[in-house]
Amino acid sequence: MSEDVIKAEGLTKVFNHNLVAVDHINFSVKHGEIFGFLGPNGAGKTTTINMLITVLKPTEGEASVLGYDIAKEANAVRNIIGVVPQEYTADEDLTGYENILLCADLYGIRREVSKKRALDLLELVELTAFKNKRVQTYSGGMRRRLELTCGLINRPKVLFLDEPTLGLDVQTRAATWNYVRTLKKEFGMTLFMTTHYLEEADALCDRIAIIDHGKIVVVGTPEELKESLGGDIITLSIQKDVDITGLVKKIEHVKEVKKENGSYMIKSENGEVTAPLIIEALRKEGHVVTKLSLMKPTLDEVYLQYTGKSMRDAEESREAVFTQRMTVRRARR
């Protein structure tokens, strides 16, 4: 078996013959990694995930999950994947435990097996104390965790997460990431997720594909993407008004030096290593450094660089907006 768990070639989805939601994308996800699709709402993330989880049929191109074709061998794919949708799909009138058992039934898992699994999963996401409470009474974070357990009941080899923390507050979001990491470790899965939160992609994903207008703009680890911008930015000022550009340029790792308003902007890889070298070199020449700051590029800058704009929402269909609003409203409860 090849190392690629998910492979997409020329994957395309056109709605109503004219709306190109996903436009000939190619990517592959390696075994055991967390692969993230990052992009604004309406960029085609959910459409891609819906094709991979066999809910939508591709218009063109193909994709496979663990070697099974998503269009021709949809049922084989469905058996080995777990899905945590963007929406809260758990039934409000049922208890958390009943909801997991319902999910188990959808996979045809025998009751004696699913009961044990459900209890184990509830334990892992710390919902045991609430298992017999109706989902109505759950907070946004608890609902999210419940959705996670539903996606894991069939012991999937690949887990798909669509906007796993949509609408959650910052703390709950970070807690949810921890649960995702724990579960991944516990079951040794490969994860495919979408998000429009830059910090989420940064914190959780091993590799990111930035998607914009249905096309993948760039793929890489968060570090690679940030470094592709030319590295960290060191800003420094010195006491005397002399030009040190030439001097700094000779230092290892330094890529670019610019003088702006009396201070120097230095682009460099491994800024934290380069900065002391610069101070040392300047002191040897008798210069006194008065100010120094080091800035690591964030995915914000990466995003801006590759898409030419900061993250903003593309136009979306009425239904998509409605579902997102519902999700956010429930998350905040």
Binding site: L106, I109, F322, M326
Partner: protein
């Protein structure tokens, strides 16, 4: 652990789980449950008891016996009995209409996509909706029959308690057909307004263009033409034959055949559409 040994291989797995999910929404919500019971009772007492058609026939004219007139037109001397049976069909129609709405809700709330990503058969998704509407209707029919008996339903000559089973059989068939029809209409819809509009457009016309409230023979020709193909007419007639008329077995067989064929065709269409449209 070997996953295959933990999984049942039935093609129909998930059917009961999904059906029960729908049913739980109903019997676990006391208000909804109560209303679905009260609604047919109110209708029945309003239309059946308040509108006493028999009272319209003057009894002081010599030679006119209101009972005989009713028996000649309705087939029974008691309008309430005629009406109460019509109510069973009426309630069935209303309950099955909601199955179309629940498809749209599941789509909007993301539950449908969740289910579609599992190995549940696409036809099971549709069948679970059909089955839950059918079970609900049958429960409501049982309530209506009970209340109707309490309010004075007059059984036909030669009524046998086993006929009740026949009543449930025909209700089962019409519910399968009607809920499949409403699901087929709404399976592609993403807006909740669509099933509402469809319901408003066709529920009352479908009701009045049948023999549920008024005997077909006294309708204008064009309406008779509609009522004679309306499966609700055959359902109502079957229930009447079984409960309040002296059973005409030839008619009863025709009723069952007609409703049975209708149910088979529409349910098949529903399942075929589910294969086509649940995979977009």
């Amino acid at each position: 652990m070997n996953e295959t040994s933990n999984v049942s291989k039935s093609k129909l797995h998930g059917l009961w789980a999904l059906t029960n999910r729908e049913l739980k929404k109903w019997y676990k919500a006391p208000v909804v449950f109560l209303l679905t019971i009260i609604q047919p009772v109110i209708w029945m007492s309003l239309l059946g008891k308040a509108m006493n058609i028999g009272a319209l026939i003057p009894s002081n004219i010599p030679g006119v016996d209101p009972q005989a007139v009713l028996r000649a037109t309705l087939g029974t001397g008691d309008y309430f009995s005629f009406m109460a049976v019509g109510m069973i069909t009426f309630t069935t129609l209303f309950t099955t209409m909601f199955s179309g709405m629940s498809v749209v809700w599941d789509r909007r709330l993301g539950f449908l996509n969740k289910v579609l990503s599992t190995p549940v058969s696409r036809s099971v998704i549709v069948l679970s909706k059909v089955l839950s509407a059918t079970l609900r209707s049958m429960f409501q029919a049982a309530i209506i029959i009970t209340v109707a008996i309490l309010l004075g339903l007059q059984f036909g000559a030669g009524f046998n308690p086993l006929n009740i089973l026949g009543v449930f059989a025909i209700i089962f068939l019409i519910c399968m057909g009607m809920s499949s029809l409403f699901i087929a209409i709404n399976i592609r819809s993403t807006r909740i307004e669509t099933p509402m509009a469809v319901m408003n457009l066709i529920n009352l016309p479908l009701m009045f263009a049948s023999n549920a409230l008024f005997p077909i023979n006294y309708m204008p020709d064009w309406l008779q033409a509609v009522a004679n193909v309306n499966p609700l007419s055959y359902t109502t007639d079957a229930v009447r034959q079984l409960l309040i008329f002296s059973t005409d077995y030839a008619r009863l067989a025709l009723d069952f055949a007609y409703v049975g064929i209708f149910a088979a065709i529409v349910t098949t269409i529903g399942i075929v559409l589910s294969w086509r449209f649940l995979n977009k």
